[in-house]
């Protein structure tokens, strides 16, 4: 971190996801995997062992026969970030200039303690060596280092894109830059808004005012907000823990 970057006003990147706009198409998931060099799932991988830094979960409401899709990724907790405080070797960091929770796979021991600490199930372990079909390595994003077997990874709001934008601005002699994460760019319904929550005039700040967060009561201060006009969805989001057995209409 040089003196020049420190002078820049700290940002607090966040997202607002409009659940009423999300059609569950999964374009964000595909874009996320491509941007972050997530390898194709191993043939033996299951829903429980695969890597989906961004996953779209389908939820249903039996009473209103409602269906919704919830894009769920690292919620970038800002208050005593649970995964950061538990990591024994400081492989998790919160960037003071952006508020983004960063994972350093090159320092990760693979103890997975951070995964138990994360209430959002947003961290993933590399159970296999990353492998791409022959020739596909040439399509990898040079800005994002692939992760090795035995380490944990998660969404970091496309730091690869942020660094590219930052570098480009520096080349042009500026310290100001904007960037868009891959999922935001890929969403065909513009359900995801991304920006600086510290800027009261930004779209993300305006929309965040009339929104909710998952597991808000746990006090981890997530920076990913959700919006919906559907009462059942807002009720569901206010819960901590799934309704047991028959009450659980999620299928």
């Amino acid at each position: 971190m040089n003196a020049e970057t420190v002078e820049r006003a700290p940002r607090r990147y966040g997202m607002v996801i409009d659940l009423d706009r999300c059609s569950g198409c999964g374009a964000c998931m595909v874009a996320c995997s491509a941007e972050n060099n997530v390898p194709p799932a191993h043939p033996q991988a299951t829903e429980r062992t695969g890597i989906t830094l961004l996953r779209v979960v389908q939820v249903k409401d039996a009473a209103s026969r409602g269906v919704a899709f919830i894009p769920m990724m690292c919620q970038q907790c800002g208050d005593d970030t649970p995964c950061m405080t538990v990591c024994p070797q400081q492989a998790v960091e919160v960037d003071k200039l952006t508020g983004v929770v960063e994972q350093m796979p090159q320092r990760c021991l693979g103890c997975r303690y951070c995964m138990t600490a994360c209430p959002f199930q947003a961290r993933f372990f590399n159970w296999w060596d990353p492998e791409w079909p022959a020739g596909m390595e040439t399509t990898l994003n040079p800005g994002a280092a692939p992760r090795m077997r035995g380490v944990v990874e998660k969404c970091d709001f496309c730091q690869s894109r942020m660094h590219a934008a930052e570098d480009k601005a520096a080349m042009e002699g500026s310290r100001e830059f904007e960037y868009t994460p891959a999922c935001v760019e890929a969403c065909p319904t513009r359900a995801i808004v991304f920006g600086d929550l510290n800027d009261p005039e930004s779209d993300v700040s305006r929309q965040a005012r009339n929104s909710f967060r998952f597991l808000e009561r746990l006090g981890t201060g997530p920076k990913v907000y959700y919006r919906s006009r559907r009462p059942w969805l807002r009720t569901l989001a206010s819960r901590v823990g799934a309704p047991p057995k028959k009450e659980n209409g999620n299928g």
């Binding site: 062992t49 024994p88 990760c108 209430p119 993933f124 060596d129």
Partner: protein
Amino acid sequence: MADMVSTLNRPAVADREWIARAQDRCSTSRFLLWLTPWTLLLAAGLYAAYLCLRYGLHQTNMDNRFVFGLWIFLDLAIIALGAGAFFTGFLLYILRWKELKAVIATAVIVGFVCYSGAVLVLMVDVGQPVRAWFTFWHPNTHSMLTEVTFCISAYLVVLSIEYLPILLKNRKLRKVPSFLVFEFEMHKLMPVLAGVGAFLSFFHQGSLGGLFGVLRGQPFAFREGFGIWPTTFFLFILSAMAVGPVFVMLVTRLVEAVTSKRLVRPQVYQVLARTSGLLLTFYVLLKTIDTLVWLNSTSRQAGYRPWEYYAWEPFGTWILFAEIVLLGLLPALILLSPKWRARPGWMLAGALLACAGVVLNRFVLTIQTLALPTLPFEQFLTYMPNWQETATFLGVIAYGVIVYSLSYRYLSLFPQEKELAREGKEASHVS
């Protein structure tokens, strides 16, 4: 003919030279026969560990939700059971409970086996074992796991040093004069080592509890506490201290049963059982208060409806009852009562139930915590270890049995053994 049979039942001449005088041990072939299945089990464990290290942790049944499985649960359990080493050392060398000299060697070896076994399994359990030193190089002082890593590593060194004088008491090794001097000097160090061991154990046993207690994202495990320490920090220390002595007793009784010998006077068992009983009663009391505060306050503040924890089968309220009453209060009362404790069967039952209670407590905090959903749309999940996980762990058990068996045969673990054997012979002559 009788001479021939007695020769066959005795250790071979070369083997006998390593066994202490007047210490009756089985024949070499019988001992090798005893070691064979354990060696096979150890080999299977090593093979399973090799598969995990060579090909990755997808060789196990763990997944992104059950990131901790059989290994972490049993690590926590054996570290709690191995607490007899530090606690017995503390009682003997610091509080001067002389009668515990009869079991201190066993306590140290059990502790050494438990801790070294746990560390071995951990080395397979982490995704990048070669990076284990990173924790010392880039320590996060806010993490309970950092404290656990530091203290367990340091305590394993202490246990190894404590093991040395026991090892050097071997008949053959004693013939080396410098070893004899070293062993004598080591004895002077024992109170210091016992103090250091107690200090380190206090913190890592606590931090193992704190590991789960600090998880704000897991309302089932999260506890409030004092300062930076959640209540599970103190409960883990207390529960480990409570079962440590009775586990030493159980191991000694098991050795007595396997070898058909009396090794320790019953009074020593009474001391161990009484100590455990007292501490267990105190633990059950605090655990009950902690559970009530957690269910009625901590959990509600986090927005979790407490009854929902136990709405998922098979983890119904029975598990809470079993942990606190059946495997907590009941053994505490058995071990506390001089009348019940005086009966060997009851005393053993009490010890077994107490150990099972602490093992169940570790199971609940690791497995049940991860099984319960925190997000409103997640599912309750189950997990079953596969053969690689089971074999690796059984391999560690086999390693423990082999280390203990070798120690029992070639070292003098029980100072009362010869005396008790002589008394037994005299009694049989009189009758």
